[in-house]
Symmetry: C2
Subunit: 393 residues, 2 copies
């Protein structure tokens, strides 16, 4: 009996534990401090009314023999795959429903997709980054190379001559930096992937925050991407589904490697190790894509973006470098006065009673940067912005 020793190479993340610890200690020492949390990466606004109604109606169906649903298709019901297909159509991407796989969320699919690939492939991952891209590859023993996000490239690293990669992670709009790739930049990545015979794993979880028609929502807006990319998306941020759990993954017909259609492999993976997303959740997700559902969900996205704009406005006034805040709930700011990530964390907590997330927690390139988010309450966000201006002005 041998265990998977790769797990022993995983580094423990103490980021959120350490934040909680420092905040608790500060609160204890300063019981009257009115602390505002702008570190939150989770939605706070409730599900849209049409979504709640769809979920209740589906629950009622499950209680009647005539309308009860047992095992559904592992890849999702046709009604939802068609709704996602039509949603992609709204930004000009033509998909077939059988290229769309419904799941319980992008995090599951981003991890599970790696089963389709050999452990010998090399992986290119942006730094700073959502830690799951790295950890899931470490678990498989796959070598990871980092591409540096910097102030100079606006945290949108581009392909480099001489760097070989088989799997490439891109996330746009990015978590944690909020930076968004342009069409031209993504075209460079697609060209590079095609040259290298690589596959791009494109995380589009924040696409609904894009407010400029010239910026791509999907990698499949880029010519050639259907031959080199898989896209992951989720209703977590689009429709507040972080606790409801529904995502979708697009594997195009044309995507083949070593003579194998990867769509066929993914179908086999999902039919063997997954039994489909809950019927009631799929009905709720379908409601998101109705005209009324999109309208209600977009109001929430607008609310979060306005919060982010309030913070961005202050950073602009202060002439502090930042990315994000416009097509993203995230703001990725340079720590002022040359402070390190944790130093600035302590400074902000002590002087402004505002909590954010030290950029160092997202990778080596995150040192000296700091993440704030628009997922909070409007009045508290305004108050936090005033305090930022106060202590940094």
């Amino acid at each position: 009996m041998k265990i998977n020793a790769n797990y022993l190479s995983l580094s423990e993340s103490y980021l959120f534990t350490e934040i909680a610890h420092r905040v608790a200690a500060y609160s204890k020492a300063n019981p009257d401090a009115d602390i505002i949390k702008l570190g939150i990466g989770d939605v706070t606004r409730p599900l849209a009314p049409v979504v709640v109604e769809a979920m209740k109606a589906a629950a009622a169906e499950m209680g009647q023999a005539q309308t009860f649903h047992g095992y559904g298709p592992e890849q999702g019901y046709g009604f939802l795959r068609d709704a996602v297909r039509d949603y992609y159509g709204s930004f000009g991407v033509t998909l077939q429903s059988d290229e769309i796989f419904i799941s319980d969320g992008a995090k599951s699919d981003l991890g599970n997709i790696l089963e389709l690939f050999s452990k010998d492939n090399t992986v290119l991952v942006p730094d700073p980054v959502y830690p799951v891209y790295v950890d899931t590859n470490v678990m498989d023993g796959r070598p990871v190379q980092f591409m540096k996000g910097t102030e100079e490239n606006g945290f949108c690293p581009l392909p480099k001559e001489g760097v070989k990669a088989d799997l490439i992670y891109l996330c746009s709009p990015n978590n944690p930096t909020g930076a968004v790739y342009t069409r031209e930049q993504l075209q460079q990545w697609v060209n590079y992937a095609l040259e290298q015979d690589a596959v791009i794993l494109f995380d589009a979880a924040y696409e609904s925050f894009i407010g400029d028609a010239s910026l791509p929502h999907s990698i499949f807006e880029i010519p050639g991407a259907r031959r080199c990319a898989i896209e992951f998306c989720s209703l977590s941020k689009t429709a507040g589904f972080t606790g409801t759990r529904c995502g979708y993954t697009v594997v195009p017909q044309e995507l083949e490697r070593e003579g194998v259609q990867l769509k066929k492999f993914w179908l086999r993976r999902q039919t063997t190790k997954f039994n489909g997303t809950s019927y009631v959740v799929q009905r709720a997700a379908q409601a998101v894509f109705t005209p009324e559902g999109l309208k209600q969900c977009r109001e929430n996205v607008r609310y979060y973006k306005e919060n982010a704009q309030i913070i961005a406005g202050v950073l602009g006034q202060l002439h502090i470098f930042f990315t994000g805040g416009e097509h993203s709930p995230y703001i990725w700011m340079k720590c002022p006065r040359g402070m390190g990530s944790w130093e600035f964390f302590d400074f902000l907590l002590d002087k402004a009673h505002v909590v954010g997330t030290p950029g160092a927690g997202f990778g080596g390139q995150g040192e000296g940067f700091f993440r704030l988010t628009g997922f909070g309450d409007r009045e508290k966000t305004k108050e936090a912005a005033r305090r930022l201006l106060d202590v940094l002005g």
Copy 2:
């Protein structure tokens, strides 16, 4: 770029496709034939009323900011882990809540658990068997050995001298045979696993069909099992959750291999590649474990078991060998008159207009056997039983 070539070694299962094809062809040629399907492996009765009400109430909570739930704990909410712990207590098994991991179903966990183990381990799998045990190991390139279920051992194979295994799959009550291991038999497996330093992967998905207090619901009723077993269970058959999706996996504190607590590895796997089960589904699952929920769900289980008993009664009258039908929705019968599985399938379809599942579809040892299930409608099951008596009497 290399794909995972192990996927190319998977054998395609044509079982249910071939059944559908033969039934369609027969129906076309015999449009007046009143065909009864006893091949179904899915529940047909609706969710219990308390479960539906809990799901509706949870959906309403999600629509209000004060009661909205975002990301939950990946391993499940405390309220549900505690409910499962108390349920285990009802058959005398003491668990800690943090040994219980809530998921979207046993199929996901049975596949995903393999990530904790080296690809070099050897695997012992019963034959006939739920095909997922074999396929998930083939995907990893892990060598699989079979242990034969036969008429002589009542389809409950026991450990054999000289057979080495690192991972051992047991499923009791069994799918597809309906056979149930006794305490003494499971003790033999636990002793063998401890000797071999192996881990038993125990699939308890059908435990709620056990009607005899002397038969074990859980491997953890057996002394020593906490040092060598992981248990998978599901609400699919217990509470009709095949389309609602909720399961749970128990990894005991004491289970260590190579100095590592496997519970810790599983927690790391789930927190990295899973984002928890839908809040509304977890609230629905909690309702299953209330006194009223258990009462309502057990009425459905009783209904399915009575159906199975009706079929079993006829097979008894006909002196045909079978397993299951008592503590299981499944009946695994020997094909009469020396017929092969598919031969008997055609015979039954043609002579009795009854559809079942050829045993050969579950592995080499299934040839010459046939699966019938109690998941159908009562009146149709009675009519099918009459026809069996007619054509085989």
